[in-house]
Amino acid sequence: MTQDITRLSASDLASALRSKDVSSVEATQAHLDRIAAVDGDLHAFLHVSSEEALATAAEADAKRAAGEELHPLAGVPIAVKDVVVTKGLPTTAGSKILEGWIPPYDATLVQRIKAAGLPILGKTNMDEFAMGSSTEHSAFGNTKNPWDLDRIPGGSGGGSAAAVAGFEAPLAIGTDTGGSIRQPGAVTGTVGVKPTYGGVSRYGLIAMASSLDQAGPVTRSVLDAALLHELIGGHDPHDSTSINEPVPGVVAAARHGANGDLKGLRVGVVKELSGEGYQAGVSARFDESLDQLRALGAEIVEVSCPSFGYALDAYYLIMPAEASSNLAKFDGMRFGLRVEPAEGPVTAERVMSATRGAGFGDEVKRRVILGTYALSAGYYDAYYGSAQKVRTLIQRDFAAAFEQADVLVSPTAPTTAFKFGEKLDDPLAMYLNDIATIPANLAGVPGMSLPNGLSDDGLPVGFQILAPAKADDRLYRVGAALEAALESRWGGPLLNKAPELKTTELAR
């Protein structure tokens, strides 16, 4: 092939593999080369698994040569967020406390990826335990935004988003507890989908907040996201909260949506997720996208979700409460880091304390302390209890809004990518970045972010689509339609406008 393999979308690469224009080994090697060339700057990866990836690629090629029936994405390389457990590959969740831990088992979604024959390129960087919106809370250094290396790639899944935006991988896995797939998607000009809660197995995701966490696809196109969603989604008996129903027809919806006909579709603009606090360029691109949807035949209606105003408050009680309990297991007793107290007796309690003191970063400690407090006797009702009530109200707001509209839309994040350090000392400002994405997690409904242009600062902006639970296919129909319209206007994907990354000479 004359074209750079790494610039292909996953679906185009899959076609090229099917027609044997390119082999999986070639495609995998091309991505490994790209990683070697640009990841010194980007630092999207915490671990690159070249050998394993090439072995999987060779196996996929052999099966294809033997005429075996293969998964549509067989042989297409993928990057996996480091919060997802991978057998035999280091898994740290971005934390010192898990440095050196090699899991003895695979997450269910990893099993599915492996069974389908996708080479795993490596594990991507993230905020420690997925706590953050900038990947600056990784214990292993910042990931840079390919659009501007002085800026954050979003978080917590900054590594997966940067890897895909930087053409290091055509596909990546992210996880989204309050926006960790969608917000990095928005600030890097990529597509990210948080499926309906229970749509993708959580077995093997290192939990932050069990009732909010959800894994999903990170890609450069809506169709690619659908293909990956379909692969990793579906019931898993190892996850009690997994939905025991077939995955909604997301691939069909993406293909259908790309035809661009949205006649009869009601699009609800959430009043509470716009206006003050949103960057002018973000608001302008959002309004243009609404016009675009209108032009495709959609009816735009305004809906109000008054309880969304309390979403951030409720989220910052429920999430830390669950996290404080989920992170209790990191104590130096069975796996990962073990630190003995510098002086005094070496008792289990003191080892636990020393290990957690040394192994957790500030943001993790902040949330563990917050959550421990919120669950304490005498405070439970006021904090965790009240937050759960807010959650119910938010669910009711969604239910009412979906009476009036088939999908809801908003900007994904209030601003474009900010500079490193800008919000690091101001947790509340950092938390506000997730104001538009958090309601979907609290209600368990699916959400997508796709790029809808550049702001006045020349940085990508994200457009969020939300659908009712188990109606993930609607995201893909609307997303694909908007994507097609925008790309025809831009003359190609938005990422074509991203600056070329400096590459280092390969010493291969």
Partner: protein, 503 residues
Amino acid sequence: MTAATTTGLVAYEDAVRRYDPVLGIEVHVELGTLTKMFCAAEVAYGGEPNTQVTPVSLGLPGALPVVNGKAVEYAIRIGLALNCTISENCRFARKNYFYPDVPKNFQTSQYDEPIAFDGWIDIELDDGAVFRVEIERAHMEEDAGKNTHVGGATGRIQGAEYSLVDYNRAGIPLVEIVTRPIEGAGERAPEVARAYVQTLRDIFRTLDVSEARMERGNVRADVNLSLRPSPESPLGTRTETKNVNSFRSIERAVRYEVSRQAGVLDAGLPVIQETRHFHEEDGTTSSGRVKSDAEDYRYFPEPDLVPVAPSREWVEEIRATLPEMPVARRRRLQTEWGYADAEMRDVVNAGAIELIEATVAAGTSAAGARKWWMGELARRANQDEVTLEDLTVTPAQIAQLQGLVESGRINDKLARQVLDGVLAGEGDPEAVVVSRGLEIVSDDGPLLAAIDDALAAQPDIVEKVRGGNQGPVGAIIGAVMKATKGQADAKRVRELVLDRIGS
């Protein structure tokens, strides 16, 4: 120093004359499911440490629990047997605390939504009196791992050089049964406590939800006790004596706490609310950890699990298949077997009901079965300090042994030798009789030779018998029996001797 160490004990009889004891008992039972409460790790006693584990029961990052349906069914069986209401929808909760034997540093348990609640059970005391115990709740939870403290003198954590943790037990399903305050037991409080746990143990076995072996820790009891001046007074401050793991210890622990608390109260001091440890060696309890408000488990609903919502149809299905409960069964068996009250009580106390039932089922008379299990076998178990069921002999083997006696092929003395062989692992009684050559000599040939020898040795007796006096014939029979090492049938020897003498 706690008050307990500075005040004396009051004699039990005196203590219960002046104070009214109130009990509260928490019983944990390990369910006999094939796999653990929340994962597919095997449940089996005595495996190599840390071999019966999965990522879930080790609490590895990313692992998620899934509720064991069989454990829920067993919990419902227990709830129904204890006349409880079964919840229509109940959640698990996380009980958060840091301890190395708790792999996730929280125990997945049930908090304010137990699977079963508001029940009662009638227990039978030694004299046949019936006492009703009210059940507050029965809830599901997972067991912790097992710590072994190495290097200290006592096996306790204090003074140990290091500790080992075995997670084979971590995640084994438990049901915890909590009583309401047990009032009105008076001086019989120790007996009531013991009989209650014994009744539960019998119920678990009858329901086939657990092996319910106290000595293996399948059933563990925590005994709460408080004293008050009179039954009209408000409840006093209680202590919780943890892990009292034999029926006898339960009685002793209650007795001791009554005496100790009475001493504290007599001295005008308050009883401290605390957990206490029971010491098997001298029957005393000692102060453990003080329970205070500082202990905060930060319970919250387990977000990794969906609520358990047993359908009413399922509950009724389970109710319909509940076996006969032990007290009712005991009454029925006593009638069937024709045992006197005292005999039946001894059988129950010896834990021999199932063994006798199985022996009877294998064809032995009730009297015959009782003779073996409460006689020779009880003696041997006692001698070896094991329980009857630990003896390496099955009810079927005892039935065969008794059959050999009844058919006259062996006598009681030989039967004991046969039993030696069975217990030594030489096989079934039939096989032991053959291999050890213990069958009664019924062939007259060798007998006649022995008789002739005996007759020749004692001609004076032969004369007397011939003279019509049969009294001294016993001496001849004795000599024959001695010569045949007891293997001869005494009745037959007598016939042959008389025949030989020609009287």
